[in-house]
């Protein structure tokens, strides 16, 4: 982190906690919205580990998000305690990601995007007609068993539980990107051939990153199951893979917190639009297209962009990188 980075981190933490205290007073609707925001923050950040840090263009992360959601939904039926169910969700999603990563490690680039996309669809169509997973209707009434001091059937308790899980997972992801492994990933992103001739086994690192990101997506999916209490096949559909990518781009790839910012904005925007009309896709598309064309480095690059537009002195190079 740069100088002053620590103060920013403290200020951010204070703001998040203040907001977390305030939200339950705004009613159940707002609580559900902000739970979703927190979950999408984690999902988008996990996807950005692949896109921004490792340049692994996966278009199939919904598979792991959905796998996590279904794991929790199924285990909740046998009254598993939440932490155990979430751990299982992470394990299932990570294992699935590991296998997918191995299968797809022979292809790169655009082909990789298409292949991961299609593999996600295998799972989607499979679940769509699987009786065990509830078919088209999915599984409803997902709830943690009501017991213990920290009774998660209480909406406020669940809110804090979700926030805590997301915070821990975000710290873990920050840990990963700033670890030696994270540096190796960015090195591979910059020049895979050079990395290979430093003795870095590029394919293995890609599979590892894919597994970690898949596990984190699985956790996000598991939390989603508790938050909405219903898991339908739509969580596995490919548009669910596109959504965190959209958030990452809107917020700013190549930075750690950019995708989180994008997740907040997009989730909130979808909520507001959803309140106003059922035919909201047009507006989402226009916003996304505007970012793709005008602000491809995302919200985090806007200050820099404005400075450049103001025309004053020479712009300070690229968007601020939080690459550790």
């Amino acid at each position: 982190m740069r100088a002053g980075g620590r103060w920013w981190a403290v200020a951010l933490a204070v703001a998040v906690v203040a907001w977390a205290v305030a939200v339950p007073r705004l009613g159940l609707g707002q609580l559900a919205l902000w739970e979703d925001v927190a979950i999408q923050v984690l999902f988008a950040t996990s996807v950005n580990l692949l896109l921004g840090y490792a340049n692994i263009p996966s278009f199939g992360q919904a598979a792991f998000y959905g796998a996590g959601a279904y794991t929790v939904a199924l285990l909740a039926q046998s009254a598993w305690p939440p932490l155990a169910a979430l751990a299982a969700a992470v394990a299932v999603a990570a294992a699935l990601a590991f296998v997918t990563g191995l299968i797809t490690s022979r292809v790169t680039g655009l082909a990789f995007s298409m292949v991961t996309l299609a593999i996600g669809q295998v799972l989607y169509t499979f679940v769509l007609q699987s009786n065990a997973a509830g078919g088209e209707g999915g599984i409803s009434g997902v709830a943690p068993p009501a017991r213990g001091l920290f009774d998660l059937t209480q909406p406020v308790h669940l809110w804090w539980f979700i926030l805590l899980c997301v915070a821990v997972a975000m710290l873990a992801l920050w840990w990963v990107v700033s670890s030696p492994f994270g540096r190796a990933l960015t090195a591979i992103r910059e020049d895979p051939k050079r990395a290979a001739f430093l003795g870095i086994a590029v394919r293995r690192y890609r599979v590892m990153a894919f597994t970690i990101a898949g596990g984190a997506a699985g956790l996000a999916g598991g939390l989603y199951a508790y938050s909405t209490t219903i898991v339908a096949p739509a969580v596995l559909n490919w548009t669910q893979s596109a959504s965190p990518i959209m958030m990452a781009l809107v917020g700013g790839m190549h930075t750690f917190l950019g995708p989180a910012l994008g997740a907040v904005l997009i989730t909130w925007l979808l909520y507001v639009l959803g309140q106003a009309t059922r035919a909201y896709l047009l507006y989402v598309g226009v916003v996304l297209l505007a970012f793709v064309l005008l602000v491809p480095r995302g919200i985090v690059s806007i200050p820099d962009l404005l400075r450049r537009l103001a025309g004053g002195r020479r712009a300070t190079g690229a968007a601020p990188e939080v690459t550790p």
């Binding site: 492994f181 540096r183 001739f197 870095i200």
Partner: protein, 252 residues
């Protein structure tokens, strides 16, 4: 810390075109060995074969006596083969310091560590020393893409050395450099070689650099080895003058 290299009857083809034709070559451990030859002689391909980038149609590649013909590139790096490319390849968006650090981490097989944030102090120290040795400390916090071509080459050599190289492959280390940079780089290579005792195999167009540095020379012509000898004697050979020195007279 040095590694012997031996090529035995190595043949490499691209389609019908034979790039390396029955090349046999011995590089003694700890020597500074140069490969020269006109453009298209097969020098870069030879480097690719030694580093494991290219497979060969026939023949064997031996490192320190071990047959590595079918051993992948990453494993050869682990055996001490480090490579610098003709056009320097560094990680453009990482800082100079991080470029070197990644190399040091890779050499200690620490790049898989994702559960710990801190880089071990020993590794940090080693990276700082590598920066100092390459006189890059002043540039440590600059992104690598902002460096001049000469500084980039220096950085790349520094990264190669940070791998605990036992065989250093330098593909035209002074290409694209100013005369001052060339002189500095030549000095640097000689120093590094003296200090570490690494085996150095280099290709070079600049004959001044070659005769300044190399203990032994191999002349490659159309994929075949014309001769391998000490520089003085290579210089006197009429066939070499004909195929190579004649051609490059305009360069000198």
């Amino acid at each position: 810390m040095s590694l012997a290299l031996r090529l035995e009857g190595v043949t490499k083809r691209y389609g019908a075109h034979v790039v390396l034709d029955d090349v046999t070559l011995d590089v003694e451990p700890g020597t500074l060995h140069a490969i020269i030859g006109p453009n298209g002689a097969g020098k870069s391909t030879l480097f690719g074969v030694v580093s494991g980038e290219h497979t060969v149609a026939r023949g064997r590649v031996l490192l320190g006596g071990r047959d590595v013909t079918r051993v992948p590139a990453a494993t050869r790096v682990g055996m001490g083969v480090a490579r610098a490319f003709q056009v320097a390849r560094v990680f453009p968006d990482l800082t100079v310091a991080d470029n070197v650090l990644v190399a040091v981490l890779a050499s200690h097989r620490l790049t898989q560590v994702f559960w710990r944030r801190r880089v071990p102090e020993r590794t940090e120290r080693e990276a700082r020393r590598a920066l100092e040795r390459m006189q890059l400390t002043a540039l440590a916090d600059r992104p690598a893409r902002s460096l001049s071509q000469g500084d980039r080459k220096r950085l790349e050599i520094g990264m190669a050395l940070a791998l605990d190289a036992r065989l250093l492959l330098l593909d035209e280390p002074t290409a694209g450099m100013s005369p001052e940079e060339t002189a500095a780089t030549t000095r640097l290579i000689r120093e590094v070689w003296r200090e570490t005792g690494v085996t150095v195999l280099l290709t070079e167009h600049d004959m001044q650099v070659v005769f300044d540095l190399a203990q032994r020379l191999t002349v490659l012509h159309r994929g075949r080895v014309l001769c391998t000898d000490v520089p003085e004697r290579v210089r006197e050979r009429p066939d070499v003058a004909e195929v190579y020195l004649g051609v490059s007279a305009q360069h000198a």
